[in-house]
Symmetry: C2
Subunit: 553 residues, 2 copies
């Protein structure tokens, strides 16, 4: 649509939305607010004011390393105050923070660094071996900076030239004049890694992250009285934009440092000790936390705490368990790297709180939620037509807005991921009800189209997993001579159930939730389900392997 | 400072911040949320969804009246749902809502309408006589639209051509495709009326009001669980931008309709009945409300309610009184027509809550507060140099930011109200402390400069008014042969004290707060203090009248 110019305003409309203004404000008005990081030796505490002084020193240090406006700077680091400093210091100078996923396979990391053309890498001491492994394949990287408390000479490394973050900061001036950056300048970039093809780069702008920070603060209701616990990795989908949003609100910040999903006890203890009131994470983190809390002799009182939960839909048992034991509320939110990431959030509207039964309320809380203000979200059919918000019509979720990507960086052929009218195609299939709540039923490509009707493979997988005999389940649409596609279920059974259950048992189980025509034509019992490098079911491989399964019968 | 272009982002940075998106979102995601208006016949209730349908009809009706992109449309109306509809419907089409202060003298109204070149005036039935009085002097106005529930034929008026708002809406289509407006297009305009010169126009942009709505929602912490009570006139300084902010948050809205400061009982009753949780106003409104509540046999429980209080600093007795009786918190905020208006807000930081005595906390709450995030506020001396944030150095408060005006519309000679580096000069003198709290001590031109040191005339007036014998007080700086200026106090005594108190009594009273050199050289007992048309002390007249008072002695 053509942009229309109205009557001229008299306002300072050319004042640029620049992320450095947010930490500057926090320093001036919430200068004594704390930022607490869990480190191997204990907790490290300082204030916004102290952080900002180091951020200015970092800006000067970047200049000394020859990093200027527009240069990309990679960061390989856990959730710490140093990552936080770089979140402002690097983009503040006009450089771009390249968020490096430290769980990525080295070959993907190399691809990302080369595609972005990073000029420098900041790397935590514990990750130096990873940096050393990829360094020879990254010709654009001219400097490495090690994040460590030790003197540089005590760090054994082949990285070259190599510097110490702390020594650079100690040697830099604490005064820095920030450039007045155009708000459309890139602030940071993050690469998505799907199941197919090379990682694709999304370059966030200052304007976009600024507006997104407001969206997070408004929807998660973060205030200066809160303590925000940053559990989501800061290299993952813009770190959810939550450290920036917490800074916008003047909240206390809590960083967990390095942690392992296998032992979340330190995180729960930290949470209780520092009185965190808002946190972000996913069921994969909150579930083991709940298990730990269940074993605690005295349950922590987390009344009023909000746990923003991304990734998959939070199970009712998780939400109810945490609420009953601690008073904390799990709030499901939905988004992606391409969306900065906040798209929808699930808050229960006051009238629904009044009208619905408790069970209905829990059921609603499993949905992805409604689109946050500022975004334009719709659900479209294959022809691009918008579907009604009836809670039934399934189509693809597409989104437009100031913090949604318009393209992928230097990635020919990816135009198909956008609609002709400029919406980003999420690839997620779902519905929207009259209240605006979105419910994802599947990945679009994982929906099964049988005789013109849809079957949700995810729903069926969830239902199969709820059977006591099932360890893992994958349901895929397989070509069918008559119905176009029909579901095929692959099951890995628990050891003790092997040979004890059969096809009919599962048909009966599924029959409680699915119509007869939706039931799989076949169930195969196998030893392992094909997975991608990040542990997702690899439907592409399954589809290839079984493509003729129903055709040949 | 030159704007610097960084690396290009991949984001939808051209997605325009357009106010119509905010009501569209509220309709989709909070469609059942209520908007309640007090009308002569009782309460009128409808939902965001119903409001939005009428807003679309209004947009079509504007087209039929020949109003297009860029046209200015005047509104003379109380705080009602119809004003709310116009707040979105007029700017949504690309036209500009001209906020008309119905308390303005007719000659000033005529000036404003002609200066803006308004093409049409929307006027409440009760204000038709005012519109009729000014109509002959407003040649650009081609149509009048009466806001009334009656059939148009029952409204006696000489306005011509004249239409009925309700009949226009009833005859208009409920479907409308909003233009994709450039975010820098004017959204509304409002004229300031100072003590000198003609009214000056500020033209708000969609971008600016959009960002300001976020600032209000974030700082007043408005959520979808709140009920926002719009007490501040919607024609006054952009109506504080609060109806828009409440819509952004999905809050319930409460409009008081026409009310008189002389009888605020209906407002308190409405507040309690509709369970308002946030309101905006000023001590001039909240004080009589407190008086009414003091007389109520059963005090309303307003625990957690927030009263955003603008204009003058709220007296501790008001804040404490409301808190003790109802649990409501008065929150002082500061701004002006030129600032959309939110500049500072006074929230007590958690560490101050812990560290300060109760008295110190009340004392802090009287300050104007800290600058909200997004704005750049500083205090400068006469040479333009930034003063330290020591809570002592007095200078002029100057402000920059996305919702601060850059100029006045077609007003040659007003450039002096901006600093060379683009800050708007507030004309207010004040200090900033280390926590960022701003305290206004005076209007810059009301500060008294004696022997190179400053004396606050406002502080001295407040102190004089606290004396039991004083009805009114004005303190002005008068030319002095030796000290440049010296304070002169004018007092109106209460009837029963006349002749009973003298100069020395007041010197003694002032001596508790002021240094000896600051005390007025003379106090004059008079019958009435010169006032401006809006009831402010007219220092200009006083200065003229007494200019040689100290020179001739």
């Amino acid at each position: 649509m053509q942009i229309v110019n109205g009557f001229p305003s008299t306002m300072q409309d050319d004042y640029q939305l620049n992320m450095i203004n947010i930490i500057r404000h926090a320093t001036r008005c919430f200068g004594r607010q704390e930022i607490v990081t869990r480190k191997p030796g204990g907790l490290f505490r300082y204030t916004y004011r102290e952080a900002y002084e180091r951020i200015k020193r970092l800006a000067n240090a970047l200049g000394k390393l020859g990093i200027g406006v527009g240069d990309r700077v990679g960061v390989l680091e856990w959730n710490t105050y140093r990552f936080y400093e770089m979140d402002f210091g690097i983009p503040g100078t006009g450089a771009v923070l390249l968020q490096l996923n430290l769980r990525l396979a080295p070959k993907d990391l190399v691809y990302v660094i080369n595609h972005a053309g990073a000029k420098c890498i900041f790397v935590d001491e514990t990750l130096v071996p990873l940096a050393e492994a990829i360094a020879p394949m990254c010709p654009t990287v001219k400097n490495f900076v090690v994040l460590t408390d030790k003197p540089l000479r005590e760090v054994k490394t082949k990285l070259n030239p190599v510097h110490s973050y702390e020594e650079l900061l100690a040697g830099a001036e604490p005064a820095y004049e920030w450039p007045d950056l155009d708000e459309k300048s890139a602030y940071a970039c993050c690469y998505t890694t799907g199941t197919t093809g090379d990682p694709k780069g999304v370059y966030y702008s200052h304007r976009n992250v600024y507006l997104h920070s407001h969206a997070i603060a408004l929807n998660a209701e973060i205030s200066y009285r809160d303590c925000f616990f940053q559990i989501v990795p800061m290299f993952h989908a813009n770190g959810w934009g939550t450290p920036q949003a917490a800074t916008l609100a003047g909240a206390k910040l809590l960083f967990p440092g390095r942690y392992a999903v296998e032992d979340l006890a330190p995180l729960v203890d930290l949470w209780v000790q520092e009185k965190a009131t808002v946190a972000d994470g996913a069921p994969a983190i909150f579930l083991p936390m709940l298990r730990y809390i269940e074993r605690m002799p005295v349950k922590p009182d987390l009344t009023g705490a909000r746990l923003l939960s991304g990734a998959t839909e939070p199970p009712v048992a998780l939400m109810k368990g945490l609420y009953d034991l601690t008073g904390a509320e799990v709030i499901h939110a939905y988004g992606a790297t391409e969306t900065t990431p906040l798209v929808t959030i699930n808050r229960l509207k006051p009238w629904l709180q009044r009208e619905l039964t408790e069970e209905q309320r829990w059921d609603i809380k499993r949905k992805q939620g409604y689109a946050v203000v500022g975004l334009d979200l719709k659900i479209i059919d294959e022809s691009g037509k918008e579907l009604p918000d009836d809670g039934k019509s399934v189509g693809e979720i597409v989104i437009k807005g100031p913090w949604i990507t318009a393209k992928y960086f230097n990635a020919p052929g990816t135009e198909v991921q956008f609609t002709p009218d400029g919406y980003w195609r999420s690839g997620d299939a779902g519905t929207m009800d009259e209240e605006g709540y979105v419910k994802i039923t599947d990945r679009v490509k994982d929906l099964i189209k049988s005789g013109g009707e849809w079957i949700s493979s995810t729903d069926m997988e969830n239902e199969l997993i709820s059977h006591p005999a099932v360890l893992e389940a994958a349901v895929t649409g397989i070509n069918h001579p008559k119905w176009e596609e029909r579901p095929l279920a692959l099951l890995v059974l628990k050891e003790e159930f092997k040979g004890q259950v059969k096809f009919d048992d599962f048909l009966q189980h599924l029959g409680q939730k699915f119509a007869k025509w939706q039931l799989p034509d076949e169930i195969l019992f196998i030893e392992a389900i094909p997975k991608t490098s990040v542990g997702k079911i690899d439907k592409k491989v399954i589809r290839q392997q079984y493509q003729d399964f129903y055709m040949k019968r």
